[in-house]
Symmetry: C2
Subunit: 115 residues, 2 copies
Amino acid sequence: MAVELRPVQTLHLWHDINLALVRDDEPDLSARQVTILLTVYLEPQPHTIRGLAAKLGVTKPVITRALDFMGRLGLLTRKRDPDDGRNVLIQRTVEGSLYVERLADLIIVHAAKMP
Amino acid sequence: MAVELRPVQTLHLWHDINLALVRDDEPDLSARQVTILLTVYLEPQPHTIRGLAAKLGVTKPVITRALDFMGRLGLLTRKRDPDDGRNVLIQRTVEGSLYVERLADLIIVHAAKMP
DNA sequence: TTTAATCGGTTCGCTTCCGAAACAATTTTG
DNA sequence: CAAAATTGTTTCGGAAGCGAACCGATTAAA
């Protein structure tokens, strides 16, 4: 499944994936939210509020709100750090794993349709 | 520039592109907004509010608001349809073209970094 | 042990967004 | 013509987002 990424095809791919995300029934995640979600699922643990805020270049309330929202969707959970009670560790969930897998499938399906 | 799209790499690519979009200075566009923008720039004209709403599966005010926002950024403009005064035609701008080109560059740069 | 630093959360005023419904303008139908 | 249909915008109450500043809890430093 090799894809030649030329500019116009790249944009079509980006368009098609976003359209699929808009059209499905799940609530849309913002760029910030999806970046947080994938950071947690792709990069090694642990993940903290402060660390994510620094990585994304945003303020802490942005991360807190994003976690509130995605937590409500069951995509992530919070857990107090037992070694340092100031930290909150963001943890993966089964539901979140499924969401991320579906996202990968979606992208691959659309990439495969590229001429 | 051929890219093997395996699931994990696909997710890393999606993550990296979104992270770059979050970190840059431009205001983030939502999935709906970027879908509208790329539809206008990639698909043949003319584009109307109603047509875009149907394509995205959203209500008309969503399109109106997205055009308000992106119009403020100079990425699109509206024009009354001379042949049918009820329609509003969405038109491309130079600034919008540059934005879309930069988006393509961004995606390609990150795709090229995939192992 | 008292002070200082760090962490996540909350509050603040403001902006944006949501879809349903109502609205004004225009065109088509009868 | 008048009535009906179509199109885009506005309004509505409610939800969510924004960063700056502050708060409470915890830990580290003096």
